[in-house]
């Protein structure tokens, strides 16, 4: 079982002390995060004012279609975006540390130590010319020092932790010698190697086939609970989200349009986009009935429409929708939606259900 790195934890907790002046106990606090990619031809507004928080041990699922800014948000948390072209504004605090003001050394300690990441494609995210044992060992030595032998012993423990069969032999395998599921497990082992407090997962099951997908999801959920990691899980798959998340944040055109506990959001979506997403899935309709797909396509991030970005595709659109970006509305405890049709103040659940 990976225990917390002593050095990292002490710096983390001392920094948390100052960061907790507001009285919150959040592991991650993102406030008004905006990410733009600036090129000579155009500026892409990938993320536009995203705010969210993750408590220790909580799983937040960011749900959205391609180009909604979910992966960019995740990479911004680790400052992994190409610095030359990227403009980030807002505030990101992880365990009390201001990520955006960290220097290079601070970032290197953060990445892989406090925060680690699982990538979508386990084939390309592992270096093909080194054995997986070597790659895990390298990461451990980088963050914790110590001998190669002790790091290798720990790498073996990690492979057993992620349930890789005959782990001792697998240490000396090259990535191409493993199946997709085993590769993703090795990737997870690498991400867990230095006891992160925050795990970022960028569609970790998308590249796997359905049965392996579920195994990896169950494993991730179990490890996350056992190790008490806060987790941000990016996916476009509602089924995956319902399986792993505590809370869910739906992104559209670089904004979070709806947020809340996963069961509530899926059972009673407030935002028309979330409703559309849920309606466009297969759940036992007659075969000859068309799926209610959301008409149109996501907006061009280089030229965002004024007002609600979803308005051009929304079936319930009103003239006011195009006037300005809808504010966050919190009609229920723990729920948020950016839609002018949602009542502004806190109202009873029944009332909302009636309206929607």
């Amino acid at each position: 079982m990976p225990e917390m790195d002593g050095g990292l934890q002490s710096t983390g907790s001392s920094a948390t002390g100052s960061g907790l002046a507001a009285g919150s106990s959040n592991l991650v606090e993102v406030e008004d995060l905006s990410v733009r990619f600036v090129t000579r031809e155009a500026t892409v507004h990938a993320v536009n004012g995203v705010s969210f928080a993750v408590r220790p041990g909580e799983v937040l699922c960011i749900l959205g279609e391609s180009g909604s800014g979910k992966s960019v948000t995740l990479r911004a948390l680790m400052q992994l975006l190409p610095p030359r072209r990227t403009r980030i504004t807002g505030r990101i605090r992880v365990d009390g540390q201001d990520v955006l003001s960290l220097d290079r050394a601070g970032l290197r300690r953060l990445r892989g130590g406090l925060v680690s990441m699982i990538f979508q494609e386990p084939m390309t995210a592992l270096d093909p010319v080194y054995t997986i044992g070597k790659q895990i060992t390298e990461t451990i030595v980088r963050h914790r020092g110590g001998s190669q032998a002790s790091a290798r012993a720990r790498a073996l423990d990690l492979l057993e932790l992620v349930k890789i069969p005959s782990a001792a032999q697998r240490l000396d395998n090259y990535p191409h010698e493993l199946s997709g599921g085993l590769r993703q497990r090795a990737m997870i082992a690498m991400a867990l190697s230095c006891g992160p407090r925050l795990l970022l997962a960028d569609e970790p099951t998308t590249a796997l086939d359905a049965t392996v997908q579920i195994q990896v999801l169950i494993l991730l959920r179990k490890l996350q609970k056992e190790l008490g990691m806060g987790t941000i899980f990016v996916t476009h798959d509602l089924g995956v989200a319902s399986e792993i998340a505590d809370r869910i944040a739906v992104m559209y055109a670089g904004r979070i349009v709806e947020e809340g506990p996963v069961a509530d959001v899926l059972a009673n979506p407030l935002h028309p986009y979330t409703q559309g997403l849920l309606a466009s899935t297969v759940h036992g309709q007659p075969r000859d009935q068309d799926i209610n797909a959301i008409p149109g396509s996501p907006p061009d991030l280089r030229r965002l429409p004024t007002g609600c970005a979803f308005a051009p595709r929304c079936v319930q659109v009103m003239a006011e929708c195009r006037a300005g970006v809808p504010e966050e509305r919190r009609p229920l405890a723990g729920r948020m939606a950016r839609c002018i049709r949602v009542p502004a103040g806190a109202v009873l659940a029944d009332a909302v259900a009636d309206r929607v």
């Binding site: 032999q169 697998r170 195994q215």
Partner: protein
């Protein structure tokens, strides 16, 4: 939500079957295994080995002094008075001269390639990784060298600096460096954008670690393979320089030079005149085939 149906009865860990334990062969062991079943590479590997050994032990193997001339024994046929491969136009033993000549030819073939691999490879990796202006500065400079045909460039540099083994090697190094640089640059630019570089950054690796560990590890393969094909080109070019009188000076034994001086006697004894050429041909094709076989064996993805 295509998974919902499956999710209703989730797979538990008990369902995961333990894969049967399998024997894992190390990287070099598996390369050796593949080479053992490649008779062409094995045969030409043996030839290369013999050529190298013959060059190293030339003083022990040579039956005669390669520089001892004889007025009466000129251009004699195979086996004349114990001269196994006959004598050249000055009556020197051809076998001994071929053995000694191999030393110069191999040296001229291998050393410039090594120099070019280190210099060109480093420049290419730096250029490919840094990108933008640094890349432009390095690669456009290399393009200036590329603009000349390689033989012409080698001839021009040797001609400007004068003949001799040292200058010949410098000339060949300069000819090979741009090509090596381009191979390294292309490979680096490809590797740089792969996911595992970002993944490495996400585990806290600094730029230097990524360069040294991930980029170098992935670029060395193609660079070495290209270098091994250049060895035969180097031998050919070195022979060409000597043939033109820009490499080694007579009476030094060198295959290219021998070819040049024996050429005048082609109507007297054509078989003898063909021997240095045959030596160049065999050496160069052996190096080529061996490098080809090693490349195939070293490719982990095959």
């Amino acid at each position: 939500m295509s998974q919902t149906a499956v999710l209703s009865h989730p797979v538990t860990e008990a369902d995961e079957q333990a894969a049967p334990a399998l024997k894992v062969r190390g990287y070099w062991a598996s390369v050796g295994y593949r080479l053992r079943y490649d008779p062409v590479t094995m045969f030409f590997g043996l030839v290369v080995l013999l050529i190298i050994l013959a060059a190293i032990f030339a003083p022990l193997l040579a039956p005669f002094d390669p520089y001892k001339e004889s007025v009466i024994g000129r251009l004699k046929p195979f086996g004349w008075k114990n001269h196994l491969l006959g004598t050249d136009e000055l009556g020197r033993d051809l076998l001994s001269r071929l053995l000694y000549g191999g030393r110069v030819s191999l040296l001229m073939g291998v050393v410039p390639v090594c120099v070019a691999t280190v210099v060109g490879g480093s420049l290419g990796i730096v250029g490919g990784f840094a990108g933008k202006r640094v890349n432009t500065a390095i690669m456009r400079t290399m393009d200036v060298f590329y603009a000349f045909p390689s033989v012409l460039l080698a001839v021009a540099i040797s001609g400007a600096m004068g003949g001799g083994i040292g200058n010949g090697m410098i000339a060949l190094s300069m000819v090979f460096t741009p090509a090596m640089c381009r191979v390294a640059e292309t490979a680096t630019a490809q590797v740089k954008n792969l996911d595992f570089v970002e993944a490495a950054r996400a585990t806290g690796a600094g730029t230097l670690t990524i360069l040294r560990y991930h980029v170098l590890g992935n670029v060395l393969g193609p660079v070495f393979i290209y270098a091994s094909t250049l060895v035969s080109v180097g031998i050919l070019l070195a022979s060409g320089l000597s043939f033109l009188g820009l490499g080694v000076r007579p009476p030094t034994a060198d295959w290219g030079l021998m070819l040049s001086t024996l050429r005048q006697s082609i109507y007297v004894n054509p078989l003898i005149c063909a021997l240095p050429g045959a030596a160049i041909f065999i050496t160069s094709i052996s190096f080529n085939l061996v490098s080809d076989g090693i490349r195939a064996a070293m490719d982990v993805r095959m």
